[in-house]
């Protein structure tokens, strides 16, 4: 039997296995265990959750490898880690550590203001953020095997995530309805490769799994994302900045499964303690918005 490892099918396939699940930000092995016990499908290992990155300011970089490895050793579920946009050496280091997925993330300070990482050059799969269909297709053409809408990380405010998943899905519906001879102009408008535009127009969906991220703080937020067409959710600060992280984590897992059952969502949402404190978009100066990073 001839065997080939790290193929497109296995890269994209791991994201397919995560569908209907919750990926949680964790900063210690203990938090990773709480997340796994609560039913997370994967954890994102990082030094500071986005709300702390936002509060601290300065340059946010890849996490200390020893901390990432300690989290990989603590849990049996997949472990993801973040590299800066365009910082392919951070990605090389994360691949050498053996992480299961790399998030080329706008939550960290970008390292390149023109180019993203050439993700085809790696054996490890990548997830990237997007605010609209064109951005998603550019990341996929660079080799991203999974997408997530960006939202505005570290705010506990779902409004940007809603804007982005609605934008991506509305553009997908529009593209699906176009004539073949209209796809050239559509590709130009989207600033995306024509072949990929053709494929997406034909199928009416992205060729990779698409999660929602950025601002999810309650079970209802997760269910809203799912009803709007998310295939799963990332929760960053929303778990470990809440009053009772284990309970909130489990409730968000349950809500992601039963996203279209209001009676169960009511049950799931009871008595969880305080969600993370939120931030309104108006109070964030433009230069401190994370979602606009990436091109």
């Amino acid at each position: 039997m001839t065997v080939e490892s790290s193929t497109w099918a296995t890269k994209k396939g791991l994201a397919q296995m995560l569908k209907g699940g919750v990926i949680m930000d964790v900063v210690t092995p203990d938090q990773a265990k709480i997340a796994e016990e609560a039913g997370a499908v994967a954890v994102m290992a990082l030094e500071r959750v986005p709300s702390d990155i936002r509060a601290t300011g300065g340059v946010a970089r890849m996490s200390d490898p020893s901390m990432i490895v300690a989290i990989m050793d603590a849990v049996s579920i997949p472990v993801m880690a973040k590299a800066r946009i365009g910082h392919f050496v951070e990605a090389q280091i994360l691949e050498a550590l053996g992480v299961d997925y790399i998030d080329e993330s706008e939550v960290l300070t970008p390292a390149d203001e023109a180019n993203h990482i050439d993700k085809h050059a790696f054996k490890v799969p990548f997830v990237c953020g997007s605010r609209n269909l064109g951005e998603a297709l550019r990341r996929i053409s660079e080799g991203a095997a999974m997408m997530r809408t960006k939202g505005e990380a570290g705010t506990g405010n779902i409004v940007e995530a809603v804007r982005h998943i609605r934008a991506v899905n509305a553009e997908l519906r529009r593209l699906h309805g176009l004539r073949e001879d209209e796809l050239f102009a559509a590709a130009k408008e989207l600033a995306a490769p024509l072949e990929l535009v053709r494929e997406v127009a034909r199928e009416g969906k992205l060729p990779v799994v698409n999660f929602v991220a950025g601002g999810i703080a309650t079970p209802a937020d997760a269910a809203l994302a799912m009803q709007l067409g998310a295939e799963g959710v990332f929760v960053g600060s929303g778990i470990f900045k809440s009053e009772d992280p284990a309970r909130m984590a489990n409730a968000i897992v349950q809500a992601t499964t039963h996203f279209d059952n209001p009676a169960l969502l009511a049950e799931i949402s009871k008595g969880l303690g305080a969600a993370m404190p939120g931030i309104s978009m108006e109070s964030i100066p433009d230069q401190e918005r994370l979602a606009v990073r990436g091109w």
């Binding site: 397919q16 569908k19 209907g20 499908v41 990989m72 691949e95 053996g98 299961d100 349950q254």
Partner: protein
């Protein structure tokens, strides 16, 4: 006749689409009442630790055990195989314990060790089965009632059947492979009506007894 697909988490839609592609009705199962009227159940790929939580929380364990005890076919892929195993190597408690095997999670390593390749499953006929293995488990021990359906080149066991329970370490639903789903549908039809399909049924060849 309809087949349930456990839809608490994982690639359940890929299984639903595979059944629909062969003309079989498939329904998503999130709660015990969703199992009413199904003639078989598929447990998809995903994270077994997550599915365990959701099965326990919503009382799905006993209804699934009852369905299996009635003789309806239960088919698990990857995480689904872990849900079915009587023993999980390393000390985790079993989940459904319907299949007399010991399974090792993430047996090949991490995601970088995920792979795909062809293998032979003789009960499905001559054509190779294309196996996509994603952080896949393997079976390290099988009980006396378990038929080994497929092995890797190095001999590791990746597909088994014990009466009405079938499990694979890989994902037929990601590879356009419909023969396992056809087999499950045939078994489900026979379960509904034992006269149906008699003489046409796929009987696994009992092989490799000595390997145990």
């Amino acid at each position: 006749m309809k087949i349930g697909v456990l839809a608490v988490q994982g690639d359940f839609l890929e299984h639903v689409r595979t059944y629909r592609a062969i003309g079989v009705e498939a329904v998503e199962v999130r709660l015990p009442e969703d199992l009413e009227g199904v003639s078989g159940l598929t447990l998809p790929g995903g994270e077994s630790t997550t599915m365990r939580r959701l099965i326990d929380r919503w009382g799905l364990r006993q209804p699934i055990l009852d369905l299996a005890a009635s003789g309806a076919p239960i088919f698990g892929t990857c995480a689904g195989m872990i849900l079915l195993a009587r023993e999980i190597v390393g000390g985790e408690a079993p989940i459904l314990a319907l299949l007399d095997v010991a399974v090792r999670r993430n047996a090949f390593g991490r995601q970088l060790d995920s792979f795909e390749g062809d293998l032979t499953v003789s009960m499905l006929g001559d054509g190779p089965v294309h196996g996509v293995f994603i952080r896949a488990p393997v079976i390290e021990r099988v009980g006396p009632g378990v038929d080994i359906l497929g092995r890797l080149g190095d001999g590791r066991i990746v597909a088994v059947r014990e009466r009405n329970i079938i499990a694979t370490a890989f994902h037929p639903e990601l590879a356009g492979e419909t023969r396992f789903h056809r087999l499950v549908a045939t078994m489900a039809a026979e379960h509904d009506d034992p006269a149906e399909g008699s003489g046409r049924r796929h009987h696994p060849v009992r092989r490799e007894r000595t390997a145990r």
